[in-house]
Amino acid sequence: MIQFEHVNKSYGKTPILKNLNFTIPDGEFVILIGPSGCGKTTTLKTINRLIQPDSGTISIDGKNILDADKIELRRHIGYVIQQIGLFPNMTVAQNICVVPKLLKYDKARCDKLVNEMLKMVGMEQYADKYPSEMSGGQQQRIGVLRALAASPPIVLMDEPFGALDPMTRDALQDEIKKLQQQLNKTIVFVTHDMNEALKLADRIIFMDNGKTVQIASPEEMLENPANDLVKSFLGKHVAGSHVSTKVEDFMRTSVYCARLSRGVRECAEMMARNSVDSVIVIDEQNKYAGTVSIGDMQHWGKELKNIEPLVRNTARTVRVGEEAKESFDYLLETGADYVVVLDSNDTVAGIITKTSVARSVAQDLWGDEE
């Protein structure tokens, strides 16, 4: 258990941490998040005494960390940094054994440890490689192993996956969550990425300006963000926030339209080429006139010169600026193929299809791809 009581820190006259009070129970995955400069990294570094608070106490399992030897303390707290920080002059095996060697484990124990550790991430063949011979993702896996090697009960991670590409980051997030649950570690993890926080955290500590704004589980935070800043960080994850809800956010704009004067045959060919069974019709002023369907054309088309008599005005239309939800409901309930979106001057702005609905659902569930 890590406990912060009235912790303050300032650099010169600038306060960095203001009266921090919170407790991190054993075995919990806690995320420190907030805008840059909010003091999250400073908070993290006070735990292994890389930074000394001006006042207040931090205790681990009830013991004030100031009473412990600084060096000894750090050897029993894992530490992973964003720049990875694997020592380039050491092999993977030597890097993993840095802390065990400092703790005077004998060689046999170190070798065994390296083996076990590498097996955990399926990288046994990398023991004798140097960091420069591996990809960023592989390096950070080893960075995490180095932190875990001496089986510290607490691991501190300072934006460990920030510099990795999205795919690798995702994979490592899964791995670290699994490891944490498997090994029952207390992890304190700094990030500015809310997706990462929501994915990993048992509990999120939201900081701003050196103060804690909200301490809550991801679910609680989503349901009840403490203020607008938290809300904006949660962004698209929160219901009813500023994110896309209007029809224009979801409509397809590259829509093929036919003029009223179009010949039936041409029109049918065009539809065949584009594999559609109905098409939007516009008049000479580019205003929306209605739609024609392939069925009607087949039925009555032979005697007609152009498509004008076949145009129906049955398709649902909405105006730009309306909520997309109604259109989605309409599409799903009626089984209609599309809803036509009109600009204020009656020209066609786009259409909403079931694909748009699917995209919106996907965004809701997984967020925008950034």
């Binding site: 000894e72 303390l73 750090r74 020592f87 380039p88 840095v98 420069s132």
Partner: protein, 213 residues
């Protein structure tokens, strides 16, 4: 040529020997002192902006003047030459050690501290190994310079290849000058090459790769 060797042969080999000993001893001492001073300086980077320029002033004192003054104090012993050369050998090593250590990326030092290394362990396991290429480059520089500075030993009558050069210049004998100058140049090249070899040997594989890229 053979005539030349007959006349000067033994004298030449003796001179090369003495010259090499001067260089070896003073570069060795200078290297040790330079590394130690560089490390010390890297622990107090705030002061180095005063200390480094002051030390570099010593560097600008002409060798002739320095040996001359030292001669007044320590007399005509090989120690005079070795002390003077050592002082000159220190600076490149010290400066490269210092910049090498400070050039080690902050994240490695952070990681080392976070792992619970004492500052001495960090120095030994992280900072020095990473600064090694720079330190060796300093050694190379000081060794090559020392070969040419050692010529000054002859000025106070202490032998080495300088003997030939002084004799040559004073008696207007070009052959003698070349007899001193050419072996000195070759010596510098050979020592430089030896240190390059050493450089390759001592650079950890992980770093070598990084450098090659």
């Amino acid at each position: 040529m053979s005539e030349l060797l007959q006349t000067y042969g033994t004298q030449l080999f003796r001179a090369i020997g003495i010259h090499t000993v001067y260089v070896a001893v003073s570069v060795f001492c200078g290297f040790i002192l330079g590394v130690l001073m560089g490390i010390a300086l890297s622990r107090i980077p705030k002061w180095s902006f005063i200390i480094l320029p002051v030390v570099s002033i010593f560097q600008t004192i002409p060798g002739l003047v320095f040996i001359g003054i030292l001669f007044l104090i320590t007399g005509m012993t090989p120690a005079t030459v070795v002390i003077a050369l050592t002082v000159y050998a220190i600076f490149p090593v010290m400066k490269n050690t210092y910049t090498g250590i400070l050039g080690v990326e902050r994240s490695y030092v952070d990681a080392a501290q976070g792992c619970g290394m004492t500052s001495r362990q960090c120095l030994r396991h992280v900072e020095l190994p990473l600064a090694l290429p720079s330190i060796i480059a300093g050694l190379r520089m000081s060794a090559v310079y020392t070969v040419s500075w050692a010529v000054l030993a002859a000025m106070i009558g202490l032998g080495g290849l300088g003997d030939f050069i002084y004799q040559g210049t004073s008696s207007n004998n070009n052959t003698l000058i070349l007899l001193g100058a050419i072996p000195a140049a070759i010596l510098a090249i050979v020592i430089g090459a030896l240190i390059d070899l050493l450089q390759k040997k001592v650079t950890p594989r992980g770093l070598r790769r990084a450098v090659e890229r």
